[in-house]
Symmetry: C2
C-alpha cells in the first residue's frame, strides 16, 4: 500500500514537513556524482527558519500522542520503516551510489545495516528493559518514618534534531542510528539531511513518512529539512521545542552545535560524534611474527571507502625495529598499488588534500597511493615520525578525513605508553598482540580504556558491529558525550530520562511499573532484578 | 584503630589534601551559629589555586590504582567511612547543629541518612549491575562477515569535583550523595567544603581520610578544600584532571560551574542540582473533602527546616472555590502561629528576605509566620495570585529559598493545566487527589512527567527517600542534566562511561565480562539478561 508511493524513484527536490512536501526557498543545492564528475538533478532548495519552525512546531504537537504509543506500536513503526526502505532498495541503492561514489556492494550492505538497526531497536522496544523499571514497595510499618511506594521508569526527552552524516548516506543519515534510536525512545525527529546526498535523503524520508501515515501516528513525528549548518542547523538546535541533538560529522560542526545548545536558555544534550584518528598499537611479538601481513591488512583498512570512516586507522604506534620495518615496507608496497577512489564530495576531497599537505610539512612521507585521475579522488598517503616529535606536536593528532595515516616510531614500550597517554579521546584503539605481548598489552589496556570507547585486538577499527554490546563513542573530542554510544542498543538511552512516581494511584500507573508486571519486564524490585 | 584519630572533635581549621593536613592561605572564614547568633572557632583560611592544583594532581595520581580496586574493596571502603562517621556521631552532631541551626533530631537523622547512603552504594557495588556487563558472543560462521566477540562494561570517568550544599551539612556535603556515588564508581573525589559548616566538613573529611588509609587506598583518593566558588571552585572545574562535577546549590552557582565546564578545552559533565519551586496541585475532590487538613499539612512541609529544602513546596495550584478557601484559611491560621526558626547563614536569610520582598510586590500576601527575634531567622510567608497573573510573569516562578510559597488560583482545570505547562523544570510535582479527581489527575500526569523528576500523590515533597527507584533530578533549571538523579542508587551512573572490548584475549578480560561469569553478575548476553 505505502510501497506504491515510495517505490517511485522520481525525486521532487522537496523537503517533508510533518507529511507535507514543501519546496525550500533558499540556495539550490544539487548532489554531485564524484565517480562520474557530474551534478545530479533535481535541485534541492534549502529551507529557512520558517521551515525549521514549522517542523519543530509539528514535532512538539506530535510528542504527546507519539510518546503515548506502546513499545509494540513503536516497534511496528520501526519495522514498517525498514520494510518501506527494502521495498525501494533498488532505486535507493542506485541513487546512493551515484551521490556518494561508494561501491555498490558497500551501499547495498549499508541498506541492510540501516534496516537491521531499525529492527534492532524494535527488538529493544519489545524486550522492554529500556523502561528502566524499578519499584521500591511501600513500608508502612517502617520507623521512624514509613516508606512510601516509589517507582521509576524512563520517559522520552522530547523532539530530537538529527544531523545526517556525509559518509553513511543511509546508516547515519535520515533513517540512521540517531533517528532509529530517537524514534524508539518515543521522541519525534526533525532531520537535517546532508547536502551530499539529498536524493537518497528524500527517498528515505518518504519511506519514513509513509510509515508514519500507515502506522496512524501524528504527522509531526517526522520531518526532513535541507539547509545550511550555521543557518537552519543552528535554528533547529536553538529551537526551544527541541530537547536533544544527534550529530555525526566534523569537529568544527559538532562543536558549533554544542555551543549553540549550551547558549540556549534551557541547555540540552548534544550527542556529537566528531573526530577520531583511531590509534593502532603494534606490539613487538605481533610485528616480529607477521609484520608484513599486518602492513598489507592495515592498508586494506586504511583505503576502504577512501578512508572516509570515523574509525579509519589514522595513527599507528610501534617500537622501532625489523618487525616495524617489515610492516612499513609491506604497507608502502600495498599503498603504492592502491587505486585512487572517489571521495564523497569535492569539499571533502579538498579538505583531505589540505590535511595531507599539512602532515607532509611535519612528518616524513612513506608512500602514496596511485595518483588520482580526478581531483575528487583520494590520493592515499602514509607518513611516519618519531615519538618525541609526535609528543611535542598538536597538529600531528589532527584528523585527516580520508586515507591518510601516520606511523609513530617509539624507542621502547615506555615511549609507546607515553604516546598512548598523550593522544586525545578516540572512538577506537586497536592492539595487535601475540601471546608473547600479553604483558605489554595488559599494561597498555588501562590507558586505552581512558582514551577510547572501543578497544579491539587483532582486527582493524573500520567495521562497526550493530549489536547490544557495541560502543561507538568515546572521550572528547571523539564525541561530545562519552557516557553514551551512537551505535548499538544502548543508543536509545541518549533520549530518555528517569521519572519517579511516589504513591501514584494504582489506576494511573504506567504499565511498565504497574502491579502484576503486565508487560512481563525485567524490573528492579527493592534493587533486585526480577521478571515477576 | 582509625577511630582514635577521628573521635577527637578538636578542630584544626585545616584542609586535607591527599591525607595531609594543610592550612589555607586566603580569607579566613568561620562558621556562624545562627541559633546563638555567634561565630564559631576555629578559623578556616581559604585555599587557593596551588591547593586546587595539588588536590587534582593527587587525585589524578590515585586514579589508576583506585579504579583498579574491586567492587568489594570499594564497598568495604564505603562501609569504613560510614563506620568512622558513626564513631564520631556525637561531636559531629554537636558541631553540625551549631553550624546549621537545624534541630538536633534533624541532624541526627541526617547522619543516619549519610551512612545509609554510603551503605546503599556499597550494596550497589556488591550487587554488581553497575558494571553494565554485556556480551555479544562471536559468530565466526556468520556471512557475509563473521561477528567478532564484543563485550561491554562501564569504567569510571576520572577524578570528580564535589561541591557541598549548605542545607545538608552531612547528606549532601563532604561524605554526601555526590561523594559516595563518585567513590563507588571508582572516581577519586576532591570536595570543596561549604563555608557554612567547615567544622562539620573537617570532621567528616577526617573520617574519610582515615578510611582511605585503613583501606590501603592511595591518599589522593580524597581531598577536602575550602575556598570561594568563583575562585578555587572555578579552578577545580577548569582543571584538566577533573572529569566530572557534582554540585548542589543555587541556580547562579550551578550555572557558573556549567559555564566553566563548557569553556574547558575538554568539556565535562556537570551534575548541578539547582533550583525548584516544587508545584503542588490540589484537585477539587481533595480540596472539598479535606481542604483544611491539607492547608495545615502544607504549612508543616513549608516550614520544616526553615523551608531550606530543594523540595520545599513553593507553589500551590488549585481551582478557586470553597475548598481552596478552606485550604487557605487553615494554612494562614497555621502559618501565623509558626515560630521563626534560624536559617543556615546570614546570607541565606538576607536572600530570603529579598525574595519575599520581591514576591510581595507582585502577589498578594496571605499570611506570615511569627516575627523573628533575630534577623537570621526565617519569617515564613504565604502569597496568592491568580493564574493569568502567574502565566504572564517570569518573576513569580523564581525560587525563594526558605519558607515562602505562592498559591495560584485557577478558574478551571484547563487553566490549571496551562499553569502546569508554563512552569519550568522541577525536582518534584505533587498532586492531592481524591477518587473523584482521578480523571483530572490522569490528564495532568503526562504534563507533569515532562516537568519533574519525581511526581508524588497525597504527600509532600520534602523528605526524599534514599532508595533504588528514587529520582532527585529533573528538567532544567531544576538540574543541569535531567538524565540522572543525585539521590538513590542510580546516582553512580553519573560517573561512568561504557567501554567495549572486541576480541580481547581471554586473559585480559575484566572479571565483570569474563567467561564463566566469575562475579556472578546479571549480564546481557546477546541482549538477553542472565546470571549464567
Amino acid at each position: 500500500m505505502t510501497a506504491t508511493i515510495s517505490a517511485t524513484a522520481r525525486l521532487t527536490g522537496q523537503m517533508i514537513i510533518a507529511g507535507a512536501y514543501v519546496r525550500g526557498t533558499g540556495t539550490e543545492i544539487r548532489a554531485f556524482d564524484p565517480a562520474a564528475g557530474r551534478t545530479l538533478d533535481p535541485a534541492y532548495p534549502h529551507g529557512d527558519g520558517t521551515h525549521a519552525d514549522a517542523a519543530c512546531a509539528a514535532a512538539a504537537d506530535a510528542f504527546a500522542a507519539y510518546r503515548a504509543t506502546t513499545s509494540e506500536q513503536r516497534a511496528q513503526f520501526l519495522d514498517a520503516i525498514a520494510a518501506n526502505i527494502e521495498a525501494i532498495s533498488e532505486p535507493l541503492v542506485d541513487r546512493a551510489v551515484a551521490e556518494s561514489g561508494l561501491p555498490r556492494a558497500r551501499i547495498t550492505g549499508e541498506v541492510g545495516r540501516t534496516t537491521g538497526q531499525l529492527r534492532l531497536f524494535a527488538s529493544v522496544l519489545r524486550e522492554g528493559s529500556w523502561n528502566g523499571a524499578r519499584i521500591d514497595p511501600a513500608m508502612p510499618e517502617r520507623t521512624p518514618l514509613p516508606r512510601p511506594d516509589i517507582r521509576q521508569r524512563f520517559v522520552p526527552l522530547g523532539p530530537v534534531a538529527v544531523f545526517s552524516a556525509s559518509n553513511f548516506p543511509l546508516a547515519f543519515s535520515v533513517a540512521g542510528g540517531d533517528t532509529a534510536s530517537a524514534l524508539a525512545a518515543g521522541c519525534p525527529v526533525v532531520v537535517k539531511g546532508h547536502d551530499a546526498h539529498p536524493g537518497t535523503s528524500e527517498l528515505v524520508g518518504r519511506a519514513i513518512t509513509d510509515a508514519v501515515a500507515s502506522s496512524g501516528l501524528p504527522a509531526g513525528t517526522f520531518s526532513l529539512l535541507f539547509g545550511s549548518g550555521p543557518g537552519l542547523g543552528t535554528e533547529l538546535v536553538s529551537d526551544p521545542r527541541i530537547k536533544a541533538v544527534g550529530f555525526t560529522g566534523s569537529r568544527s560542526g559538532g562543536l558549533a552545535l554544542v555551543a549553540a545548545a549550551a547558549a540556549r536558555p534551557e541547555p540540552i544534550p548534544v550527542y556529537a560524534e566528531m573526530s577520531s584518528i583511531n590509534p593502532v598499537f603494534l606490539l613487538d611479538g605481533a610485528l616480529d611474527s607477521r609484520g608484513g601481513d599486518l602492513g598489507r591488512a592495515f592498508v586494506g583498512s586504511l583505503t576502504m571507502g577512501s578512508g572516509q570512516f570515523c574509525t579509519n586507522p589514522g595513527l599507528v604506534i610501534a617500537i622501532d625495529g625489523p618487525g616495524l620495518d617489515a610492516f612499513v615496507a609491506a604497507a608502502a608496497e600495498a599503498l603504492v598499488a592502491a587505486p585512487a577512489t572517489p571521495m564523497l564530495t569535492p569539499t571533502i576531497a579538498q579538505n583531505y588534500a589540505t590535511g595531507v599537505e599539512a602532515l607532509s610539512q611535519s612528518a616524513e612521507l612513506v608512500a602514496r597511493g596511485l595518483p588520482p585521475e580526478r581531483e575528487t579522488a583520494c590520493h592515499a598517503a602514509l607518513f611516519t615520525t618519531d615519538a618525541p616529535t609526535f609528543l611535542a606536536s598538536e597538529e600531528l593528532q589532527a584528523e585527516v578525513f580520508g586515507s591518510s595515516s601516520l606511523i609513530v616510531r617509539c624507542a621502547d614500550a615506555d615511549q609507546m605508553r607515553a604516546v598512548a597517554q598523550r593522544i586525545e579521546g578516540q572512538l577506537t584503539a586497536t592492539v595487535h598482540a601475540d601471546e608473547s605481548d600479553l604483558e605489554d598489552a595488559a599494561r597498555l589496556l588501562p590507558l586505552l580504556e581512558l582514551k577510547a570507547g572501543r578497544i579491539l585486538f587483532d582486527g582493524w577499527p573500520t567495521g562497526v558491529e550493530v549489536s547490544h554490546a557495541m560502543v561507538h563513542g568515546g572521550p572528547f573530542p571523539a564525541t561530545s558525550d562519552s557516557r553514551t554510544t551512537s551505535v548499538g542498543a544502548r543508543a536509545i538511552e541518549r533520549y530518555l530520562r528517569p521519572v519517579c512516581y511516589q504513591n501514584l494511584p494504582k489506576s494511573l500507573l504506567p504499565s511498565a511499573i504497574a502491579d502484576g508486571n503486565p508487560d512481563r519486564l525485567w524490573r528492579r524490585i527493592d534493587g533486585r532484578l526480577t521478571q515477576d
